[in-house]
């Protein structure tokens, strides 16, 4: 128990820090590392390989101490499932049996919880948040193992008071973390190797064909090989930090850091205006998402005073501070989602104020606090007589939506998806790593990580967003001719799938698709990079027939295409087997189907959108493959020039192709037997990280804010594995894949359907799609332009109005003082003084005659004056006396 507790944070911490060290080394010594900085690649690759080794080490340690639950559902359920299969013919009864199932599960749950209480207490004594050795038998009260801990504080507030809080750097390690670590480091290592070949142009003077100088020549600049790896290292550090983050604030920090790395990498060709614009766009659009995320953070912080995911025992005194998850889903209420006390109190701020102001004199603070604590459950449930507001619930929804907003930005979901296609301005390894496998998947990761906090409303929004995104992405990908853009839109679309899965309650399905997608999409991107490397163009219209010239690239890419199309043998045929995409995509479709059963209206929208998306996916992927590799070369010059990439590039391709095919295979499971389809494989590993409260409950939630107009409930994910769902969905899935592939083949391989005709027939739709649904134009008109106008207005206001106003004040003051000086000063005051002076002068002038200058006369005057004074005084005293 103690070993993983202590060693995992160290291993993973080192895995995070290794790329940072590489970044610092390249930053400081970059150009001096080898010839033209070629050593930068070695340093960076070494660092990420180190990280990968550490991550896999951590993975093995993890697996050795925590066996994943072998199965989700019980053997008993097997019968139920077969019942379902039978009852499928009688549609109306379906609902009833599902309910039975749920009753059963609940009963089962309560039974086992009682039996396991002692074990839980033991865990608490160990001071760890929740550790549990799980095996197949107690799957249903499985408590996901989590390691949390504290590294250091960024800021602490009100230390020593009851309101003590801090924002700190800490970690949260569960199986999701481990999986993400392994996935990210593995793919990143491959891409580092690949990039060291791909970027070799940068080793010498680089002539940028896309930048034309004033004198008409192409820009020639020194290579920036090391700079590229420097950014990559920083990115890896940020990405791993993001995964390891133990609180949402730290997540936000790394969130921004991956954003800035993405900014640098997209804008790697800084001289290209399009690149720097795309970089700006990416960062700013992400910031819009972060704006929402900040709001979510604020709502959480203001109400709960903590950012931590799990319970963290900072002081090692056996009293862990409660984290967000245990606050939202307290153990006392069976991990059911509820607005925590803090949120209720914040929501009912006015109520509390009323209470305080009404309190009698002399009520102590403790008494007040007790009163409030007493009222909180009442407020939470809206049980007040005059007011049935469920205080705090809005905040809960806002927090969830806010966090999701960040995910929308990062994962390029509608309506913030526009940056991702533009981000293809960056070098292709960047697209492979950052913009398909890792960073954009971080949004999905965060949704998965934050799952316990999302209220049903939020999940619904997530599902809707995912659904819209997958459709938009897929449709645009059909018409794109830039090979990387096809993949970019495909990424958008696949991310939509993941979101949809998560939104529909398919936690494992979503995460699993995240992992499998990372492998095959990075593979696809790297293949496209290899092609671009060979033909020096992105346009598929100038390619064709390349499979002869570059077989490794062509066939690894084909593996990727098959994987993403989700080709495999459906379970209905008895031997469910396929490439990785098959497992994950089928899970998603199954969950959507299961959802559709419970919620027929919205569910069918989601399900058929997903199904349609699957057709389109298969279609555009194979369209891309056929256009690139099959048929005759359309541009002979480029074809002649083409060649297979060097070994350092195609070896990673092969490795990734293997992974893309096999990452989701259930290795130690009993293949083929119904019910235990998923053994000791990726699925179970992910399942091990399923947040508390999602595993145990039946349906996730059925009461929500818009229950007035929409009845929704979220079926438990385990139900989607029932044979009555698996069977038809598997068939439908393979059907869509085949449909899509054959459509593509018909149009681009065998050419008995002319794409040109289709284009002409659907010209308006085609144009609409080519213009990417006109999002950019719309955003430009609605947001960018008005912002500039407002900025201009404010700047003008500042300069013209405020300054004018001040200047007019000054002018006015000067006028007034001018007036004062002319009229008051000169006429009145000066006039008075001058008048007096001139009178004095004239009097003096008159008196001048007396002033003879004769001393003797002066004596006379003195004497006369004295006499006069005497006489006057005596008269005066005489008068007084009278």
């Amino acid at each position: 128990m103690g070993v993983p507790d202590q060693i995992l944070p160290i291993l993973l911490g080192l895995a995070v820090l290794a790329p940072l060290a590489s970044f610092v080394i390249i930053l400081l010594f970059g150009p001096n590392l080898g010839k033209q900085g070629v050593g930068g690649a070695y340093v960076a690759t070494g660092a990420i390989v180190c990280s990968a080794i550490l991550s896999f080490l951590a993975g093995f340690i993890w697996l050795s101490s925590h066996m994943p639950p072998a199965t989700v559902h019980h053997h008993d359920e097997h019968h139920e499932a077969s019942d379902h299969a039978e009852s499928k013919q009688h549609g109306p009864e379906l609902h009833g049996s599902l309910e039975q199932d749920s009753h059963f599960a609940l009963a089962k749950f309560s039974e086992e919880v009682e039996g396991d209480e002692s074990g839980e207490h033991q865990d608490e004594e160990h001071g760890e948040a929740a550790q549990h050795d799980a095996d197949a038998d107690d799957a249903e009260n499985f408590i996901p193992p989590v390691y949390t801990g504290h590294w250091y504080s960024l800021g602490r507030f009100m230390v020593g008071t009851p309101y003590e809080a801090d924002v700190s750097i800490n970690y949260y390690i569960d199986s999701l973390t481990i999986i993400m670590f392994c996935m990210v480091t593995f793919i990143a290592s491959c891409i580092h190797f690949y990039a060291s070949g791909y970027m070799h142009d940068e080793l010498h003077e680089f002539t940028d064909p896309e930048v034309i100088m004033k004198d008409g020549s192409n820009l020639v600049r020194p290579g920036r090989y090391h700079r590229f790896f420097q950014y990559l290292s920083l990115f890896c550090f940020s990405m791993l930090g993001l995964v390891l983050a133990g609180n949402i604030a730290m997540t936000f920090v790394f969130w921004e850091l991956v954003g800035i790395c993405s900014y640098f990498l997209i804008g790697f060709y800084v001289e290209r205006h399009s690149a720097s614009t795309a970089a700006n766009k990416a960062f700013i659009v992400n910031r819009i998402g972060d704006f929402g995320m900040l709001i979510g953070l604020m709502a959480l912080w203001a109400s709960l005073g903590t950012f931590n995911f799990g319970d963290i025992d900072r002081n090692n005194d056996g009293t862990p501070e409660e984290g967000l998850f245990s606050l939202m889903r307290p153990e006392a209420s069976n991990h059911k989602l509820q607005a925590p006390d803090g949120m209720v109190a914040l929501g009912a701020k006015d109520r509390i104020e009323e209470l305080v102001l009404k309190a009698e004199d002399g009520t102590t603070r403790e008494e007040l606090e007790d009163d409030v604590a007493e009222m909180i459950p009442v407020w939470r449930e809206g049980e007040l007589e005059e007011d049935s507001t469920k205080y705090g619930y809005t905040l809960l929804v806002i927090a969830g939506l806010g966090i999701f907003c960040g995910c929308v930005g990062k994962s390029a979901q509608f309506p913030l998806h526009t940056w991702l296609p533009d981000a293809m301005e960056g070098p292709t390894p960047v697209s492979a790593l950052v913009h398909s496998a890792t960073m954009v998947a971080a949004g999905v990761f965060l949704v998965a990580r934050f799952y316990p906090v999302f209220a049903p409303e939020v999940l619904f929004v997530i599902a809707c967003t995912g659904c819209i995104t997958l459709f938009i992405g897929a449709t645009i990908a059909i018409v794109a001719t830039d090979i990387k853009r096809v993949l970019a839109y495909s990424t958008v679309s696949q991310l939509g799938y993941m979101m949809l899965a998560l939104g529909l309650g398919g936690w494992t399905a979503g995460v699993m698709h995240l992992v499998t997608h990372a492998f095959f999409k990075s593979l696809l991107f790297m293949c496209s990079g290899s092609v671009i490397h060979a033909v020096h163009t992105n346009e598929m219209t100038e390619m064709g027939g390349l499979r002869k010239k570059m077989p490794f690239t062509a066939y690894t890419m084909l593996v990727g295409c098959i994987a993403i199309a989700g080709v495999g043998i459906p379970s209905a045929l008895g031997l469910p087997f396929g490439l990785s995409g098959y497992y994950s995509k089928d899970s998603i479709l199954e969950q959507a189907y299961s959802y559709m059963i419970v919620n027929p209206i919205m569910g069918s929208v989601f399900f058929y959108a997903a199904l349609g998306g699957a057709v389109i996916t298969a279609f555009y992927m194979f369209r891309m493959w056929f256009l690139t590799f099959a048929g005759e070369p359309r541009d002979q010059k480029r074809y002649d020039h083409a060649h297979e990439s060097p070994k350092v590039m195609y070896v990673p391709l092969v490795i990734l192709a293997v992974m893309a095919a096999g990452v989701a295979w259930p290795f130690f499971g009993e293949l083929g037997t119904e019910g235990d389809t998923y053994g000791f494989g990726l699925y179970n590993f992910i399942e091990q990280g399923r947040p508390l409260g999602l595993w145990l409950e039946n349906d996730m939630a059925s009461n929500h804010m818009f229950s007035d107009w929409l009845e929704l409930s979220w079926p438990h994910e385990s139900k989607s594995h029932a044979a009555n769902i698996k069977g038809p969905v598997g068939l439908m899935a393979i059907g869509t894949a085949i449909l899509g592939i054959s459509l593509a083949a018909a149009m681009y391989l065998w050419r008995f359907l002319n794409p040109e005709d289709a284009r002409k027939a659907f010209a308006p739709i085609y144009n609409f799609l080519v213009n990417k649904w006109k999002f950019d134009e719309a955003y430009n008109a609605v947001f960018v332009k008005p912002t500039h106008v407002v900025a201009w207005c404010i700047a003008t206001f500042d300069k013209q109005w405020i300054d004018r106003f001040l200047e007019s004040l000054v002018f006015g003051t000067r006028r007034i003082s001018g007036f004062l000086s002319t009229y008051i000063d000169k006429l009145c005051v000066d006039g008075l003084i001058n008048g007096v002076a001139s009178r004095c002068y004239s009097i003096g002038h008159g008196l001048q005659k007396i002033q003879t200058g004769s001393l003797r006369q002066y004596v006379m005057f003195i004497v006369v004056g004295t006499i006069t004074v005497f006489v006057l005084l005596s008269f005066w005293s005489y008068a007084i006396a009278q």
Binding site: R856, M860, V863, V864, T866, I867, F870, V871
Partner: protein
């Protein structure tokens, strides 16, 4: 003359003090007038000397012996000699006699006369200033006191005691000290008192000294400095003459 005769005959007490006063006053005023009406600067100086010397006599007659002596020494012996030096230095033929216009004379005399009338009227208008018998009255009081004391001593038998043992009663002592005070007050019996007052010690008014109001040390110092300044100033002015001559 009639008046004088009548005065002397009528005078209850005619004493030398009065006689001398009239003599010196007449001398002083007369020579002052003479100086006024003389037009010769040299004679004027001579008349002034006599007038001031007589004025010092007047001062002696008020009992201010030290001041009178100073008057003689500083004025007559110093200032006037200085003046005479000035006269001699400037006494050229043209300036020995300078006639003033008659109109000026008339005007000056009218004005001066009215001033004199005013001042004299003021001098005689205060009743208390008339009481010229003060000294005599005081002497009489002392004599009366002596008589009373002797009488009372004889009546109550103190006279029979030895001289050393004769004690005054309390009332008598008070009266005596009061009388002594009245006699002594302001009497310039000791020049030393003036000197002490100038260095800040008032022996004549011990009660005053206790309050912290001491004598004339500060004015004395100021005057000293003033004199020094004057000395220097005079020297400077005299020196300036030479320079301008160059």
């Amino acid at each position: 003359m009639f008046l004088l005769a009548e005065a002397t005959s009528n005078a209850a007490v005619i004493n030398w003090h009065t006689v001398f006063f009239f003599v010196v006053a007449a001398l002083s005023c007369g020579f002052a007038l003479a100086m006024l009406f003389s037009s010769n600067i040299v004679r004027m100086a001579f008349f002034l000397v006599i007038s001031l010397a007589s004025a010092s006599g007047v001062i002696f007659l008020t009992g201010s012996h030290f001041v009178g002596a100073m008057q003689l020494m500083i004025y007559v012996g110093g200032t006037v000699v200085l003046l005479i030096f000035g006269v001699m230095l400037t006494a050229q033929e043209a300036f020995i006699t300078m006639k003033t216009k008659a109109g000026d004379w008339v005007l000056a005399l009218i004005v001066g006369g009215s001033l004199f009338a005013l001042l004299t009227q003021a001098a005689f208008s205060v009743e208390a200033w008339h009481s010229t018998d003060y000294q005599q009255d005081l002497v009489k009081e002392v004599e009366k006191f002596n008589k009373d004391v002797i009488a009372s001593m004889q009546s109550d038998g103190r006279a029979e005691l030895d001289v050393e043992d004769r004690k005054l009663t309390k009332e008598e002592r008070v009266t005596l000290s009061d009388l002594q005070k009245r006699i002594r007050h302001g009497y310039p019996e000791l020049t030393g008192q003036i000197g002490l007052a100038l260095v800040g010690v008032r022996t004549d008014q011990p009660s005053v000294e206790a309050t912290g109001y001491t004598g004339y040390l500060l004015p004395f110092e100021i005057v000293s400095v003033h004199l020094l300044v004057v000395l220097i100033g005079a020297a400077y002015l005299a020196r300036a003459k030479k320079r301008s001559a160059e």
